[in-house]
Symmetry: C2
Subunit: 339 residues, 2 copies
DNA sequence: CTGTTAGCGCATTCAC
DNA sequence: GTGAATGCGCTAACAG
């Protein structure tokens, strides 16, 4: 493997000059530049990244911490990040967290030493202590689908989204509307579900509908847990006529439970999800759409600006929209629902 | 940020000694080791990875090339890789390819220079030229869900899988069985679909069923293309009574088309997929199960062994199984199907 | 056992 | 404009 010295020797110049043409520094005579370029070509020379990094005192890599990489919404954001990083000089190293221990470990480890030049965190909100550590380590961090007052973040208004979803059901005439979401607080630091829950409550309140605890069920974020929770909801009397699930993943569990329990959707039960992952489209799930891929792209954009020394807004809010498909309809006019 | 020299100074030893305790070299007196450790602690010292990499002449990172990272089967394999890498000293950098240009570019770029110590390629089969380049660059490469005679790979027997799926349909009594898969050859170098097609043909042959060209439809790998292709199949006369889709993703498109066209599955139409992604389970799709996560883990395991200088088998074959769920059944006994 | 020294390959002064 | 020298922070070989 040729080094910069081999190139210098072959071109009959000093290593400094080679370095200059590599980083296309202006002050190199056209003729020498050409000679160097030829030598580089002849030797099929490529600068050693490790050496560059050490000399530059930059790692030229961005880290991304992702929770449950197989989660469809997470992987779409991740895709956005790879897209945003394309064409830049940065490599992307990924840290997949599936346990609380790993979450905490990565939050600590990635910070210290010079492991990455910048960090993107998906869907995980750092604690104040963690945010403090980032600041002290002077590591640029941007949050995607998570927030912290001290950290730049790309986010949507989940409270608003929760309201939109619930309002849609209310508008259809539902009065017994259940909410199915994540436990909060939770050790991972997921907060989206909680905010959507807040929106749910506000919509209820605004419509002067009673808040009933039995219609709010929470559990670990997964399709299977959601399935079980939905089954529990069906056992209430009277059962809800609509369910707002805090994510499409959970909505899928609800749909499966409904099918299993013999409920027809949307005739017997309306279901609305959140995120608008690709499968939602496919299944005709009514849901709240948010720009997943774009959130990753925006996150990268923020980080790049910070690395370039530019000022950035502390928060970027992406737009939300309700996508009405085939899982929501007016409630069946049963005896109980007649006012 | 403290360096190894600061630690040495504080501990009153040479940098060599600090380096030794860092890499827990045995030949360090317990007492000095302790002193060094204390200094490290006091300074909150962490070795600079870039410096280590340069000195060690190893990048301590593994690269992974993934096609269409949002593809469920791909991301499950990727998850396996992150799992397998956990606890090792390697970082994982990812290259997402969504265009042929990027595929070719990454195959070239990742190789040259000292960018990674090893490479894992998912679902993309290198050309002979590319394999040759890997060898010349003396870069360990392992293939997951792809194959090349000169490269260690983790694979399943797709021909066998194709036979199993088709055989299942034949056993149920189907005689007009369609195959829906990827175009082959294709610029990305995906080969799975083609092999599954080969299995399909063999099963037909074995059962002495006629091979009919109109029942074989190929297109770009996506749910939407599959949807359109399936619609085309329904227009054949007579239409097939069963469709074997080369992947679950494509099977989902078929299911959507069937629903749209008013076909009841499995009464009017049997559908079998391939991969057994999570959604297949959820939708009750009959499919060929392959160990996706394990394939990633095995891939890492192979690569680690190579990096450790151990011999490895050139091929690891993972087991396959047919998972019968709710999308397959005997054909409806219509006039045409009565022998 | 342990301190010293010489690289690893590149970027970047500083003179010329 | 360009060459030579210095340093990035660490590992490893070599003395002692």
């Amino acid at each position: 493997m040729a080094t910069i010295r081999d190139v210098a020797r072959l071109a009959g110049v000093g290593v400094g000059t080679v370095s200059r043409v590599l980083n296309n520094h202006p002050s190199v005579r056209e003729q020498t530049r050409r000679r160097v370029l030829e030598a580089i070509e002849a030797l099929n020379y490529h600068p050693d990244p490790s050496a560059r990094r050490l000399s530059l005192r930059r790692t030229l890599t961005i880290g991304v911490i992702v929770p449950f990489i197989t989660n469809p919404s997470v992987v779409e954001r991740l895709r956005g990040i790879t897209l945003g990083l394309e064409g830049t000089e940065y490599d992307l190293v990924i840290f997949n967290v599936e346990t609380v221990q790993n979450r905490d470990r990565y939050f600590k480890e990635v910070v210290r030493g010079k492991r990455v030049d910048g960090l993107i965190v998906i869907s995980l909100s750092p604690t104040d202590d963690e945010a403090e550590r980032f600041a002290q380590a002077d590591l640029p961090v941007v949050l995607v689908d998570a927030a912290h007052p001290r950290l730049p973040h790309v986010i949507i208004d989940d409270v608003q989204g929760g309201m939109m979803a619930t309002q849609h059901l209310i508008n259809l005439g539902h009065r017994r509307i259940a909410f199915l979401g994540d436990i909060h607080p939770n050790p991972f630091g997921f907060t989206a579900s909680y905010h959507r829950y807040l929106g749910y409550m506000q919509a209820l309140e605004k419509a002067e509908l009673p808040y009933e605890e039995k219609y709010v069920v929470l559990g670990e974020h997964s399709r299977y847990t959601a399935y079980a929770l939905a089954m529990g909801l069906f056992d209430q009397s009277p059962p809800p006529t609509a369910i707002f699930a805090a994510s499409d993943t959970q909505a899928l569990g609800v749909l499966a439970a409904a099918r299993e329990a013999g409920y027809h959707v949307p005739e017997d039960l309306s279901v609305v999800g959140y995120d608008d992952v690709e499968t939602a489209h496919y299944l005709g799930l009514t849901t709240i759409h948010q720009p997943l891929v774009d959130s990753g792209i925006e996150g990268v954009s923020l980080l790049m600006k910070i690395l370039a020394g530019e000022e950035v807004p502390n928060e970027i809010r992406l737009p939300l929209s309700l996508v009405v498909r085939q899982t929501t309809a007016p409630p069946r006019p049963g005896p109980k629902t007649i006012a």
